[in-house]
């Protein structure tokens, strides 16, 4: 039982990280190929503070998120004015650079050995609590003027600017928030697995996240959640044929892009779909009464 709880905790934490990717790609249309490195930033901040100081869990979480926000700001300021495809390239380079840095600064980070013996302070309920908070924040963000800016910027930067939207500012805001959320996920991951090493957070992970968002539906938060859950639970289900895991994932991505170019949910949210379903049922009953 505790094994399954463990798996679910990891899945929940990964979903927090994937939500940051939804914010970037789904809302703002920024391709960050090095987003996992912000998870690294959060995880190492938490790992180092947890093993070398006696700061309480809550404080470490706050410091990790701040570290994520600040590093995203530092990367974001030069990157955000670039064209969309160049942003992908630069963030890819940044992500790999972070991993290489952590690997080679072995006196501080433990190098390829990573950091061990982090106290285990995250259980499923804490992780779910943080996930709920992140969903709440992102949903509110999406339904505010900032969320509409993001979509406007994704659809058409030129006319967004003509409406008075500061395009590079809103891109930076979304990049920084995403960095903070990813760092939060990293911090929780460190407290969950009690062990961190840099190689797990390379560009492959960032690209995985991009795939999850596309399969779920680029403009659908619930779609991202559903596909994130599927893709994270799938490897555990396929444990017996572990080597084919990536193959299965690739096939799912290809099939989705071919047959559902908008993703599983497209632009719809799961709750609006359910609402529509009920409305249709009501309409049907009205029609049948008239008959």
């Amino acid at each position: 039982m505790s094994y399954y709880l463990n798996v679910l905790t990891t899945v929940t934490i990964n979903m927090i990280a994937i939500l940051s990717m939804y914010l970037l790609i789904g809302l703002t249309g920024i391709f960050s190929m090095g987003q996992a490195s912000f998870m690294c930033v959060g995880a190492y901040t938490a790992g180092m503070l947890a093993t070398r100081t006696s700061l309480p869990f809550g404080v470490v979480v706050i410091i990790s998120v701040l570290a994520g926000l600040v590093s995203a700001l530092l990367v974001g300021i030069p990157v955000i004015k670039l064209r969309r495809d160049y942003i992908a390239l630069v963030t890819l380079g940044f992500g790999e650079a972070v991993v290489a840095l952590l690997n080679n600064m072995s006196n501080i980070t433990g190098g390829a050995n990573g950091i061990n013996n982090i106290p285990r302070k995250v259980n499923l309920w804490i992780a779910l609590g943080f996930l709920a908070v992140v969903i709440f924040i992102i949903l509110n963000f999406k339904n505010s003027r900032f969320g509409r800016y993001c979509i406007a910027v994704k659809n058409d930067e030129l006319s967004a600017a003509a409406m008075g939207i500061n395009v590079s500012r809103i891109k930076l805001i979304s990049f920084v928030i995403a960095g903070g959320i990813t760092a939060l996920a990293g911090c929780l991951m460190a407290y969950n697995t009690t062990y961190i090493e840099p190689m797990a957070y390379g560009s492959a992970k960032s690209i995985d996240w991009i795939c999850y968002v596309f399969v779920g539906g680029v403009n659908s938060l619930s779609g991202t959640l559903v596909s994130g859950a599927i893709f994270n639970i799938l490897p555990e289900v396929l444990r017996v044929v572990y080597i084919y895991r990536i193959l299965v994932q690739g096939v799912i991505v290809l099939l989705t892009i071919n047959f559902l170019p908008q993703g599983m949910f497209g632009e719809a949210e799961i709750w609006t779909l359910i609402k529509d379903l009920f409305k249709k049922k009501k309409k049907n009953t009205v029609v049948s009464k008239e008959r």
């Binding site: 963000f141 505010s144 659809n155 600017a161 409406m163 008075g164």
Partner: protein, 256 residues
Amino acid sequence: MNILEVENLSVNFGGVKAVNNVSLTVEKGKITSIIGPNGAGKTTFFNLVSGVIPPVSGKIIFDGEDITKLSQYEISHKGISRTFQNIRLFNQLSNLQNVQSALDARAHYNIFEAFLGLPGKRKVDKENREKSMYYLEIVGMADVADGRPNSLPYGMQRRLELARALASNPKLLLLDEPAAGLNPAEVEEFIELIEKVRKLFDITILLIDHRLKVVHTLSDKIYVLNFGELLAQGTSEEIRDNPEVIRAYMGEEDKE
């Protein structure tokens, strides 16, 4: 009183002088038009005024203020709004939200209020939705508020773009070929709409169009551009009888 004064504005793309030494003024409350053959630099001129591209030389004075070096969104906040020749709407926002985007850019609540969905933010959003609805009603599209722009017919997309441009409460409205692609009946409707909007909001309009009917019915003053240079200026009648203009612009149309 002139709301817009452009002095010796020039820009070139490589060796092409797209806009060369153009000076013109737009009088407050009037409708001024720019006409000219294809490639005359009309849209480039709009892009210069609205800050999409920076000019090589020259000055743009709007409402007594030099806006030459301002960026696009700052110019929008100064009170210049525009529509686009090839319609540019936000296809993943609803029609109402498209209009609201202009109001959002002027809303004042910070990001933390947005994160938490505080009452202050909700109040502002609600007011802006109602205002957006008002602008949609003006262009006669209140019934399709929840639809998406890409499922609208062409004429309605044009009207939606106009509503969005109006929502930013501009002093000067730049319309880039607003009647392009409309059929004669729609053109009539559009002319009526522009007249109505001008009376309702008391705004100044600078207009580019190929349809001489639109230009001659609406304009108080017309400027003619050809190969990036100002060819002529005057009232509708003066332009119609100007031999140079006929040679450069209408003469070519007659041959076809």
